[in-house]
């Protein structure tokens, strides 16, 4: 029986204080424990970005891939070694912009990957350009007059393309108390049989 400590190492993340990535990081560890998985049962594939550095901060096998190609790499890994719990963690730029194509097809194929998108509506690592999910009118370095584009709706896209598990959570939330905070990520790994894609924004 594993504990949260089994999935932890002693490397401190470079994330800013209060960043939502801390919540996602902890939720993933708790979910893996709840699913009674050991570090060797898991594979984490990430892209490029602040949050994509997550495999460095966990004691699990991980792969920090190319920008936007997270799901393509994870698909290859899953087909080569489908006994492992494959988790992808990447941001909205990686997942919806450069990797939007891969998201659509991974969902359509129903590949057994838990896909967690850290969607902060902005390219934060590169200091604040607008992303596919930025709201219209958002003033950023690349949109000084406010964005003209309408934001993408990733959940609606995933649902219409046949996704078999679609959820949204708030990274650092204490909304509704600690029970609820833990309930959702735990369900991602535990209650669901290991079949098909789990898409979480």
């Amino acid at each position: 029986m594993s504990t949260v400590q089994d999935f932890s190492n002693d490397i401190r993340p470079t994330w800013c204080p209060g960043c939502g990535n801390y919540g996602i990081w902890n939720a993933i560890k708790r979910a893996l424990v709840a699913a009674e998985l050991e570090p060797r049962d898991v594979m984490m594939v990430t892209g490029i970005g602040c949050g994509s550095k997550m495999p460095n901060y966990m004691h699990i096998p991980g792969l920090n891939g190319l920008y936007g190609r997270t799901l393509a790499l994870a698909t290859g890994y899953k087909l080569a070694n489908h006994g492992k719990k494959v988790i992808t963690v990447h941001g909205d730029g990686d997942g919806y912009s450069m990797g939007g194509n891969h998201l659509m097809h991974t969902v359509r194929r129903n590949i057994g990957i838990v896909d967690i998108i850290q969607d902060n509506h902005v390219y934060a690592l590169t200091r604040g350009q607008y992303s596919p999910t930025s709201r219209s009118g958002w003033v950023t370095r690349t949109s000084p007059e406010g964005t003209i584009e309408k934001p993408l709706n990733p959940l609606a896209m995933a649902l219409t393309q046949g996704a078999t598990f679609v959820a949204r959570s708030f990274g650092c939330c204490r909304i509704g108390g600690p029970d609820r905070q833990g309930a959702q990520p735990s369900r991602l790994c535990a209650d669901r049989r290991d079949a098909g894609v789990c898409f979480v924004q």
């Binding site: 006994g83 649902l159 598990f165 509704g176 079949a195």
Partner: protein, 87 residues
């Protein structure tokens, strides 16, 4: 926008009696954000455990993960035949 904003501008789908097995209801909820005027829904929109996964339907994977299968399934001559066909 900080945590307070999200606390005030989100709601849990479980509080509304949303049926996560209903795909059309899930799509309607998904269209609430972005695009709608109201609060942002959080929680499980949709789940369907009956659809087989891709890897469950690949015949060669029935024998177990590829990574655990023997690298050379047939005698080496068999692979030479295939190579000869190509070149």
């Amino acid at each position: 926008m900080g945590y307070e904003w999200y606390r005030d501008n989100t709601y849990q789908l479980t509080d509304t009696g949303h049926d996560s097995n209903d795909r059309m209801a899930a799509i309607e909820r998904a269209l609430e954000y972005p695009g709608g005027e109201g609060k942002i829904p959080l929680g499980i929109f949709y789940q369907n455990n009956d659809t087989p996964s891709y890897e469950e339907q690949v015949p060669v994977l029935e024998a177990g993960p590829l990574a655990d299968q023997p690298l050379r399934k047939y005698p080496i001559e068999k692979y030479r035949e295939l190579l000869d066909e190509l070149f």
